[in-house]
Amino acid sequence: MSRRPQGWPKTLRRWACTPLSCSLAALLALTLGMPALRPLFAALFPELDRPIYQQDSFAALVLAHVSLVAASSAVAIVAGSVLGLAVCRPAGRAFRPLLESLLAMSQSFPPVAVLAVAAPLIGFGEAPALIALVLYGVLPIAQGTLAGLDAVPAATREVAQGLGFAPWQALWRVELPLAAPVILAGVRTSVVINIGTATIASTVGAKTLGSPIIVGLSGFNTAYVIQGAVLVALLAICCDQLFERLQRRLSAWQPTEGAAAETAPPPSAGH
């Protein structure tokens, strides 16, 4: 450590060897450098004429995949959290059981079936894929929102009200921050699943990292399947690690063993 040049910025050093930066580096390297692996795939699958998927560049596929996931997750996050919030308010409480069964239903449709129904109705391309992904992604987010808000202690709510918070102030400044780690856990699940599910959007003509997988499956080209699948997996891992960081930041106030040992007073009375 002490041998490192003095000029290295501290933040850069801290970033250089985190799991997140390693996976991001791997993702970037494979996205741009896949053609360079031609000899490897040629050796692994000698019967294949074209061992590297070349219809689109992998960079374009990753970009298309990420934007499809981002768009559908954004809609799912807004819809899921708004729905979850709405049925936790006094005005919407009556609709909670309805929402919960609707969400469970939406989860029980396989996304492929949604695509199969949606594609003939609204045509091929990204639109049916978006619908399927949003439907599929809303459930964990809405459930996370419900669980997060449920977990706010009743005493905390009561005190917030008793001290003179207006209802929206209590929601915004107390309930949501306290629920945030659980809500974010729902978002994390939703987005990571979404990254995997988005591959099947290629069956209705959307361009994603699923394209090499679908083409590979139909053309018995295992190399294509591997190339697509590895990139999807790396993307999901990066995303998961990113959320883990975010989650740690949002729950900084929670007791962790390390932090508690560092700052807590000696064994305390009560709690």
Binding site: A155, T156, L163, W253
Partner: protein
């Protein structure tokens, strides 16, 4: 300061509070006491409109509480509860600053107020202001809860079994604290408890509730010497009313000044109950009395424990 006139409240057809008449004057420390289900918490929560009453009128500072916006009303009343309810994602400083912030006080003023309150509650400001609630002991958390209730210098302090979850030592320390704060600030305090000793030790007026009605109200001395009914006598503890009476008075009031005695002394500020304990455990009939500075001020005889003849 707070006037209930024929106030009633029912939950699902059950009368929780039944035509309650009660006046709590400015500056009084009133304790609402009763068994669970007696309506004491409901009565407290009607004052800051956490519970809306069904009928009657409830006035605060001369005005019907319904004429205030609930938030405005609540920000003028400190509120502390048993489970403390500190906001776990905020530091001690942010927690105490809750109401001042809602009232948009300027930052330097909030900061000064937090420092002042932490000092008042014997928490070293620089050591504690940036801690999170989970880094505090139960007693420290409750101190912060009391500081938060006091932060915006409210007209009234409402406390719902504030010391209920604490161990006896911490609880006694915080009761002393509250007595001191009340004496210093002269605030109107309404406190709910089911602990008769806490009520006797803190209250200027005890309001004993049962099934939503007032069974008796009066000073601790009145309740102990003239219980209105057998039920009251049972509630305050039939067998040790005498001991409780002794706990209300200080050694200084009964000591014979100028007289000297030998042996372990007792503080003039101790209660007669502590004196009784000292007589019995030490097996003596006379105790030398010393003041806070340790100077002898007189002697207490065992017979002095008996109430003076009328």
């Amino acid at each position: 300061m707070i006037e209930f006139a024929q106030v009633s409240k029912s939950f699902d057809g059950q009368r929780a509070v039944d035509a309650l008449d009660l006046v709590i004057p400015q500056g009084e420390l009133a304790v609402l006491i009763g068994t669970s289900g007696s309506g004491k918490s409901t009565t407290l929560k009607m004052i800051n409109r956490l519970v809306e009453y069904d009928s009657g009128t409830l006035r605060f500072a001369g005005e019907d509480v319904r004429r205030f916006r609930p938030e405005t009303l609540r920000r003028r009343m400190g509120y502390a509860i048993q489970s403390i309810g500190l906001f776990p994602h905020w530091t001690v400083e942010q927690n105490i600053a809750t109401v001042p912030q809602l009232l948009n006080w300027p930052k330097p003023r909030i900061r000064d107020r937090v420092t002042e309150l932490l000092t008042l509650l014997h928490l070293e400001p620089e050591q504690y202001r940036r801690r999170f609630p989970h880094q505090l002991s139960g007693g420290q958390q409750q101190r912060v809860g009391v500081a938060r209730a006091l932060a915006a210098d409210p007209d009234v302090l409402l406390m719902d079994e504030p010391f209920g979850a604490l161990d006896p030592v911490t609880r006694a320390a915080l009761q002393d604290e509250l007595r001191r704060i009340h004496a210093l600030s002269g605030k109107t305090i309404v406190l709910v408890t089911h602990d008769i000793d806490e009520a006797l030790g803190l209250a200027q007026r005890i309001v004993l509730l049962e099934r939503g009605r007032i069974v008796q109200q009066g000073s601790p001395l009145e309740l102990l010497t003239r219980p209105a009914s057998d039920a009251v006598r049972d509630f305050i503890g039939r067998s040790d009313i005498g001991i409780k009476l002794l706990a209300l008075e200080r050694v200084a009031a009964r000591a014979r000044p100028g007289e000297a005695a030998t042996g372990d002394p007792i503080a003039a500020g101790a209660t007669l109950r502590e004196a009784l304990s000292a007589f019995v455990t030490r097996g003596v009939e006379r105790l030398p009395v010393i003041d806070a500075q340790g100077r002898p001020v007189g002697t207490l005889h065992f017979a002095d424990l008996l109430p003076p003849a009328p």
